[in-house]
Assembly symmetry: C3
Homo-oligomer: 256 residues x 3
């Protein structure tokens, strides 16, 4: 089967950036299959790129090559890396965009991209998606191994991820992500919340978990097990982010 | 030829939702070819999803599998369905998103998706695009037949579609869709409008049909046969939706 | 290898337009591989389409077919064309969208699309992306040659491109494009600017070229060699377009 390369970037779709990356990939490996994940990661928002990556990569077949370019430090001393985790391959900047991969995997091996054989000869200081990450992904899709790219990297950059905290019968968490429907994704693992739990967020109290958005009337706030495995706060057919502030305090009384 | 699966959703391109669906499809059928139609259907706007579907599906080869996920009732009692119409296959929620397919086809067979063999084992209540519709589409692309998915469904949910009304020498219609250029698509079949017709919309009168936008000077209102087969109201190099209100009364005097 | 067709349009992703084009292509050549470049060219902005095309096409393998539809004159007397340049093939309206291709290539041959064999039989006056450009691209991908489409066209429409001007020790230029990060792309070829140069833009003076955005502190203005080969004005982790006006005068004192 022809190899799959996924693309997750903050390049937007108005410019030529994504197109140039696709051209480079197909020039090196015309058989590669390019799958767009998102080019609408908010500019320079490494955390959102990292969280998106966490939430889709495990659904792809092993040996898929995932390219993630959210890269405010492009051209600086930040390293370019490729890594292998349980048969999945990732390519991108060493700026924390792979943080969740490191945290949720038992073992991984990371290599700094240095080998000039696998990158373009004239490297731009502003667009390494085209000049480094795209050609490396294409070469990996041709069978080059991550170990051929350069030296092993021991300590990659990681984002500080705020985890929720369990204190006696209470969980203290926060909203870490707002999706495009306005749902608030928290950092509270959904399995900790019970049907009898009470969720306190800002000045609102939500009693228990809903099984679907339609469990409450239109416009009403609810808590639900989100598809990423975290507790989410939503409004049936509305936008929870218009009702709740991201910085509102979030506590769950486990036994209500 | 490798099977084609198209995706039409309201998921937007900022989150991981589309990526996760693509991963699920490719994990089940690595040979599937995924074609993005739109992920920018306005959130929860089933009518816009239905109208988009109507306007592109007939251009695809037979046996294409069209997945449509605009699904405000996800996780509720709304059914998940797959249908076959003249060799075209559709997968999505039973909420009216296929209304035009039912209305414009002579015969179709609809099946409720129930067979656990063809869906993921752990179904989320908020993201059935990933857990039901993507895997079903992938299995259909491997040769599973829609009849294997579950029982036949006799009465699918249909949206109320307002049709235009011919009264003597007059047609009463309305604007049903605004495209991203600001063109107003009406529900008046274009073949009913003659070159000598007069179109009354709000306080404006348009005389006859233009053959192209450039038939009138820049900024001027015109009526034209739209590419979906309906009468459209446009502004040459401008946005008709800034001039005409969607709720403005629309009448066509057929013989002017 | 299956032929590649790229799509660059101003159709946006909310409507069925892109989907219908893809369906037409795959119905004619089911083996075609469709690569989305951008559907977010600002509506009717031929220059932005032309500049985007210039910046990505050279990265694709030869024989790729590039379809560009930014077409405010659709349905008017503007011609539909296909051209071949150094083994690259382009399809679109004759409205200047290929201006940079003409200017930066030594030789090219352009043909007017007239042969009814290669277009749909019922041509809409508002959506020739679907009815002319998509089917022509699909037929070209099956081996039809551009010369089979119609007569040779001697003088294609070109956009007036403002080039920068070198006067003694000074270059007078302007901002020609703002990308989605807010970077200002100028029309000054980057190789003319030296590390000791001074860039005067509006009321600001930038001394010399930065090698990366991170060369200056966060929020500070800088000049850099852009990835398209032109001088760019940027703000480290910010948006230069919020600081500098597009119409601000731009001069570079070459020797500072």
């Amino acid at each position: 089967m022809n190899p799959i390369i996924t693309l997750t970037t903050d390049f937007g779709l108005k410019d030529h950036y994504v197109g140039a990356m696709k051209g480079v990939i197909l020039s090196i490996n015309p058989a590669a299959r390019i799958i767009d994940i998102s080019h609408e990661i908010p500019p320079h928002d490494i955390f959102k790129g990292a969280f998106t990556l966490r939430n889709f990569y495990r659904y792809f077949p092993k040996e898929t090559i995932h390219v993630a370019v959210v890269d405010p430090g492009v051209g600086s001393t930040r390293k370019a890396i490729a890594l292998e985790v349980d048969g999945n391959i990732f390519v991108g900047p060493d700026n924390g965009v792979f943080t969740f991969i490191y945290r949720e995997s038992k073992s991984y091996s990371i290599y700094e991209i240095k080998n000039p054989k696998y990158i373009l000869s004239d490297i731009s200081f502003t667009f390494q998606g085209r000049d480094i990450f795209a050609p490396v992904a294409a070469h990996l899709s041709l069978g080059v191994s991550v170990g051929d790219l350069g030296k092993r990297l021991r300590k990659p950059v990681e984002l500080p991820i705020k985890e929720s905290e369990v204190r006696r019968d209470e969980i203290i968490g926060e909203v870490i992500y707002i999706d495009s429907f306005g749902n608030l994704v928290t950092n509270i693992p959904a399995e900790l919340v019970k049907s009898g739990s009470r969720i306190y967020i800002g000045k609102r109290i939500i009693k228990g978990l809903s099984k679907s958005y339609a469990d409450v009337i239109k416009g009403k706030l609810l808590a639900i097990v989100g598809s990423s495995g975290f507790l989410e706060i939503s409004v049936n057919r509305g936008r929870a982010c218009d009702v709740i502030k991201v910085n509102d305090e979030l506590r769950v009384k486990i036994k209500g």
